[in-house]
């Protein structure tokens, strides 16, 4: 008998097939405004920026990326911006070739007010490692896409999200407290995370 069949046979004998699934959870009602999201994001070490009008976005991002070094912009960001201190993410590059990126500018999709997390759909970060290799991560987020809790956040994921290989929830910068519980930002990934709220981005 293969290991698979052996394990499954024992599990089948032990499983009783009696207790049914409890169904959906009914969360308590909570606020989902930008202010609540921004204060949670701040508490987890992130920087809320804005919200800005889409017309001001290019200017706001230029400010954030000034003198930063190599700035790489992911898909879904470019059409809303003019020229600036950034380059578009080249297609088909190895993740190793992005090791020197100072700022990654990526399009976030869903914001979660209860935990400050922002969704990063794999389609907006085709090189999986980019949001972890950069020194600073900037995520764009339409304020209309903020939901109160994680249940609604996951319900909002596009139905094909799990077919694009990776989908990230990111809440604040990389952090560790492994040395005497002292919080240190930038353990491996980005040392800082800014989320730029946009009021009317299309």
């Amino acid at each position: 008998m293969s290991a698979r069949d052996g394990v499954l046979a024992r599990v089948r004998r032990a499983a009783r097939h009696e207790v049914s699934h409890p169904g959906a959870f009914e969360p308590a009602r909570m606020d989902s405004g930008w202010e609540r999201f921004a204060s949670t994001l701040h508490a987890v070490g992130g920087e809320p920026v804005g919200p800005v009008q889409s017309g001001d976005l290019s200017w706001a991002l230029s400010e954030l990326c000034a003198d930063a070094g190599r700035v790489v912009m992911g898909p879904g960001v470019a059409q809303s911006l003019g020229p600036g201190p950034w380059e578009e993410l080249p297609e088909g590059v190895s993740p190793q070739s992005l090791a020197d990126v100072a700022v990654a500018l990526l399009r976030g999709s869903i914001g979660v007010a209860e935990n400050g997390a922002v969704a990063l759909d794999g389609r907006h970060a085709p090189v999986r490692a980019l949001p972890y290799l950069c020194e600073r991560l900037i995520l764009l987020l339409e304020t209309s896409e903020i939901v109160p809790d994680m249940h609604q956040a996951i319900a909002r994921m596009p139905p094909d999200a799990t077919r694009f290989h990776h989908f990230y929830w990111i809440s604040g910068p990389s952090k560790t407290a492994d040395i005497e519980q002292t919080l240190v930002l930038g353990a491996h990934g980005p040392r800082s995370l800014a989320v730029v709220g946009i009021r009317d981005l299309q």
């Binding site: 024992r10 499983a15 400050g116 290989h165 929830w169 005497e180």
Partner: protein, 456 residues
């Protein structure tokens, strides 16, 4: 009694500063958890809901495992099955060998600790680098993690500075956590970039979609699974949950229970390999199906490894994780060890508990941890011949007042001998880390009578 006093007592945290620091550090996590819980009105309802999902999932685990396997395979992952830790290690090593891999980066995985993967691979000339900072520290110190969430919580900043000085040539005497973390980051970054394979654990596996979910704060798992072409994810078979919607419930509970954060910095959902890469998922039994068949203890498989029960446990806080001698310490470690550990000493761990119930009160999936510990004691009392004799003797003594008085007098008589260390003292090892208190000179009953008499 002597069952409790095995050689493990020698690995207790030393009295004084190390103990005080450890106690304060882990109880601080407990306090942060409490603050996060207080801020969420539906936390108790979430716990109940999570428990119900887990109870259901374990009851249909065969169906969910098969569903997960077929969905993960449809997304391009290769699914392997391992009966035990040895088979798991063999599968992982085979994958690495076939591809000529020499350098591996690893993120935290309690399962690979349980299987002893690192020493297995290192003995076969592979370079395995633990990348979670706490795991890296215990790897450099050549010891087991002492906590499932903060593996190096037993180490002081000065000790960590010294380890880094020896192994990474950092300046001697450096003990600033910010600078030490920066040194580790600089040491590990090139290792990530050069690695040919990344090994990660799995926090949740979603049957509906074949997705694995990995939660970290450092982002080390994400670098490990997105830079090298080969990603191996190891998971116990109990990690499966039914749907993506169910994930929300567990994500709301996990980090709040662990560190008081509303969610970990990174929650990564991975379905299939990245473009041009490979994803292999190893499903490990290692005693879990046997535990599932045990109706008294199967609920311990619901554990999501948050560490809340460790942080609140008066025994863990004072003893430290190494005293347990297992990959998983604390109350949940003591509950799982009799079923999952290959070592005989693991079966004795349920005896080392006060049964205060603090663990059960904080468990995010409502495992009745202290009830489980008590149940293991009962099993043990009925199983071993030595244990049976001891229990019967205790029943006889405790059942007859005269015998109990005589036994008490005998212990008081022998006290000065027991309290001193000398070869042959049955309390010998226990006394390495502790002292017996001075005894009160008379039995409780005697003192009670005296007190009553003096009041009249």
């Amino acid at each position: 009694m002597s069952e409790l006093l095995d050689a493990r007592a020698a690995t207790l945290l030393p009295d004084g500063e190390p103990l005080r620091r450890h106690d304060a550090a882990v109880f601080d996590l407990r306090r942060r958890r409490d603050a996060a819980v207080a801020a969420l009105p539906d936390f108790e309802a979430l716990r109940t809901h999570a428990q119900a999902i887990k109870t259901h999932t374990l009851d249909y685990l065969d169906a969910y495992l098969e569903r997960f396997e077929s969905q993960a395979a449809a997304a391009g992952a290769v699914v392997h099955w391992a009966e035990d830790g040895a088979a798991h290690n063999d599968i992982v090593h085979g994958l690495l060998r076939e591809r000529g891999v020499r350098r591996v980066v690893k993120s935290k995985s309690m399962l690979t600790e349980e299987c002893g993967l690192n020493p297995y691979l290192e003995a076969r000339d592979l370079e395995v680098v633990d990348t979670d900072l706490g795991e890296r520290i215990v790897q450099l110190g050549q010891e087991l993690p002492s906590h499932i969430v903060v593996p190096a919580v037993h180490r002081s900043r000065a000790e960590i500075g010294e380890l880094f000085h020896v192994h990474m040539q950092t300046p001697s005497g450096e003990s600033d956590p910010v600078r030490l973390t920066e040194y580790a980051r600089r040491d590990l970054r090139p290792r990530f970039l050069a690695a040919e394979a990344g090994i990660t654990g799995v926090n949740f596996a979603i049957a509906e979609t074949g997705t694995i979910v990995v939660c970290t704060n450092e982002g080390n798992a994400d670098l490990g699974m997105s830079l090298p072409p080969l990603h191996i994810a190891s998971m116990g078979i109990e990690k499966v949950i039914p749907t993506l919607a169910d994930l929300a419930t567990f994500l709301r509970l996990l980090a709040r229970s662990a560190t008081g954060q509303p969610i970990t910095a990174y929650t990564s959902l991975v379905t299939g390999p990245r473009a041009g890469g490979e994803l292999h998922i190893v499903l490990v039994d290692n005693g879990r199906s046997r535990l599932l068949a045990n109706s008294t203890h199967r609920s311990s498989l619901a554990c999501i490894r948050c560490g809340a029960c460790l942080n609140t446990c008066p025994v863990y806080r004072r003893a430290g994780g190494h005293a347990y001698g297992q990959a998983v310490a604390g109350p949940i470690g003591a509950v799982l060890a009799p079923a999952l550990s290959s070592q005989a000493e693991g079966r004795r761990l349920p005896l080392a508990s006060t049964l205060c119930g603090s663990c059960s009160a904080v468990c995010p999936v409502r495992i009745d941890l202290h009830g489980q510990l008590l149940a293991w004691r009962r099993t043990r009392a009925h199983a071993g011949a030595g244990e049976r004799v001891l229990q019967r003797a205790a029943a006889v003594v405790l059942g007859r007042a005269a015998l109990l008085r005589a036994a008490g007098a005998l212990v008081r008589l022998c006290w000065p001998l027991l309290a001193r260390r000398w070869p042959g003292n049955p309390l010998g090892v226990w006394l390495l880390g502790r002292q017996l208190p001075a005894h009160p000179g008379a039995s409780f009953a005697t003192r009670y009578r005296r007190l009553k008499g003096s009041k009249r």
